[in-house]
Symmetry: C2
Subunit: 350 residues, 2 copies
DNA sequence: GTGAAAGCGCTAACAC
DNA sequence: GTGTTAGCGCTTTCAC
């Protein structure tokens, strides 16, 4: 007698597949697909209910690998950044994750550690994983996207000048942002304004440097000293010490990233000097950390969330055949105290 | 005549598959597999060379989805954390990514934003994506792992007391770490030591609180004030202000995370008070940011990289049938200046 | 040492 | 509205 086989149906061995659901609900596997995906065919309400019950009771979850194989899409996007430990990139990663999740995509995170070999390996790895797109903050100005191209995987470059036609990119106007920060310092009456510039592996001329130059020139001010070092707290610290030791110590400095500014701040404190009294400081990025340094940093904020949404949008747009484009977003000056502006009266009451 | 069909072979339409490689190399698809995977069968050196050439020339990259479907493993692990923007978690994410990449696994990053609904959704999502394991820093003390269990996906809980037998977990001895931090403050002569405790969604009694209590009791000191707030800079700031406004203002405070300490530091600075002169401070986690605050934070450092490696190891071990276990790692006190210790002479010379 | 072929779970023609 | 079925690209058993 077959009467007891229902118990076997209740507990299929191993993971539950669409076949188990179909059997349990007494329908074909196609119908299960239609229900799960809401199409492409319509299903009678009664049937749908039976299937939904079966899914719930059996605890069925579609196998994403099978789906990816069939569809040629993993519903996943890849992110390649130098270091997700850097506040700017961690914010970006979070924003990209949110934007992707919103559309049902998951995020594969990879760090290149500013290392070209790793970046290449990550690109290849993501390509073989059938990601539907890659957001890349490259070490290089012209990254090697061959692996992605041959797999027809769209990519979007981050904070890239957009000089490579044919590639999607999103970024901010670095020069304009830098000008804002330097102009603000000029507005405070400074005439000897240094630049602490971050150094990248292969990038060419950074437009923040140009912005600094432009602002100085426009105000008829002489070029201040330039110090260069890594985009990191440590890099900023080293650069800050050099600046302090120089003969014509500047009265203000524009740092190309918040992390560098944080390091510079430490160097200044250690020297027993005061910010902004002895040296004023502005920087770039708008990291959360910049709001809690002492004094709080006046910084040029990048609209990271908007940029992340645009990046994910561009990726998915590219899949639908939209042409590559460069999208530039405006930055905003977050005025705090490191520049010399007075502290706002705190609205919080203890 | 078929002579010219080679040109068609050279440029297979669409993505290159293992079949194209086989045809080009004049072998069967099985042999291509053997070569790509280094087994399970041996291949003659000459044949192998032909296949490797074909792979290179055609630019073949294995399809991970097909492989995942066949093998039942995506060679991917999932990470669920409250917020990858928090330095502790961003460091963890980086370390997990490294440990996973080392073994050929990729990392699917998800943020729960401290939100139970999102955490659940992320768990289910990762389960359906056939991840080979999940590292979970849960909002709850007893997360709902049903989706993972039914899919037979191992999980490892992070910084979980290890009270749930049957679950893998990795963490540090929170009480011992807290004791270290508080003992150090006691060593500086403080007798009124407050606790700034972070609040989690569903976690029960946090052992850092117990450690603080134990240290005080062991020294015969009275219980200091406790203030509670979110594990964030903002939370710390609010809590700091409350502490400063209280009648018997403490002369020292132990904060349960670096982020809170950063916020407290701001509150103290704004009040025109001095750290460590007026109020000494120690905290917990060992974030990079703690080294660059002013003054630099004395903090209990968690060995994040080691923990990440252990977590990934446990996941893969579980796949091989190893029993679940709780691994506890030692913390270390990074002595800097917020506690009252003198600054080390800096070894760097500008 | 090499090849043929079954089948992983799913989608979407196409037939009814 | 529902069912049948052909593959997506890969791994691996089994035959040779």
């Amino acid at each position: 007698m077959e009467a007891m086989t229902t118990s076997a149906v209740h507990t299929p061995r191993g993971p539950v597949t669409r076949k188990d659901v179909a059997r349990y609900a007494g329908v074909s596997t196609a119908v299960v697909s239609y229900v799960v995906n809401g199409g492409p065919k319509k299903v009678a309400p009664a049937t749908e209910a039976k299937v939904q019950d079966a899914i719930r009771i059996l605890g069925y979850r579609p196998n994403a690998a099978a789906r990816a194989l069939k569809l040629g899409s993993s519903e996943t996007i890849g992110l390649i950044i130098p270091d997700n430990t850097n506040p700017f990139f961690s914010l970006l990663a979070h924003a990209v994750e949110d934007a992707a999740a919103e559309l049902g995509y998951a995020l594969l995170l990879t760090n290149s550690d500013g290392n070209l070999t790793k970046e290449r390996r990550n690109i290849r790895n993501l390509a073989s994983r059938q990601v539907d797109g890659v957001v890349l903050a490259s070490v290089l100005f012209e990254p090697d996207l061959a692996a992605l191209e041959s797999a027809e995987i769209p990519a979007v470059l981050l904070n890239h000048g957009g000089k490579s036609p044919g590639f999607n990119s999103v970024g901010v106007d670095l020069a304009a942002g830098a000008r804002m920060a330097v102009d603000h310092l000029i507005g405070h009456g400074h005439t000897n304004i240094a630049l602490a510039m971050g150094t990248n592996t292969g990038h060419d001329y950074d437009l923040r440097e140009e912005g600094w130059l432009q602002a100085l020139a426009a105000a008829g001010l002489p070029e201040g000293p330039i110090v260069r070092g890594p985009f990191s707290r440590e890099g900023g610290y080293a650069v800050g010490r050099r600046l302090l030791a120089s003969a014509d110590r500047p009265t203000a400095v524009f740092a190309s990233s918040d992390m560098q500014a944080i390091g510079i701040l430490r160097a200044i404190h250690e020297a027993g000097l005061n910010v902004p009294g002895d040296i004023a400081l502005t920087s770039f990025d708008g990291a959360a950390e910049a709001e809690y340094s002492w004094p709080a940093l006046t910084t040029v904020e990048q609209p990271v969330r908007v940029m992340a949404e645009a990046a994910v949008g561009a990726l998915l747009g590219a899949r639908r055949g939209e042409p590559a484009a460069h999208r530039t977003f405006p930055t905003e000056l977050r005025v705090r105290q490191s520049c010399g502006c007075p502290a706002q009266a705190s609205s919080a009451t203890p």
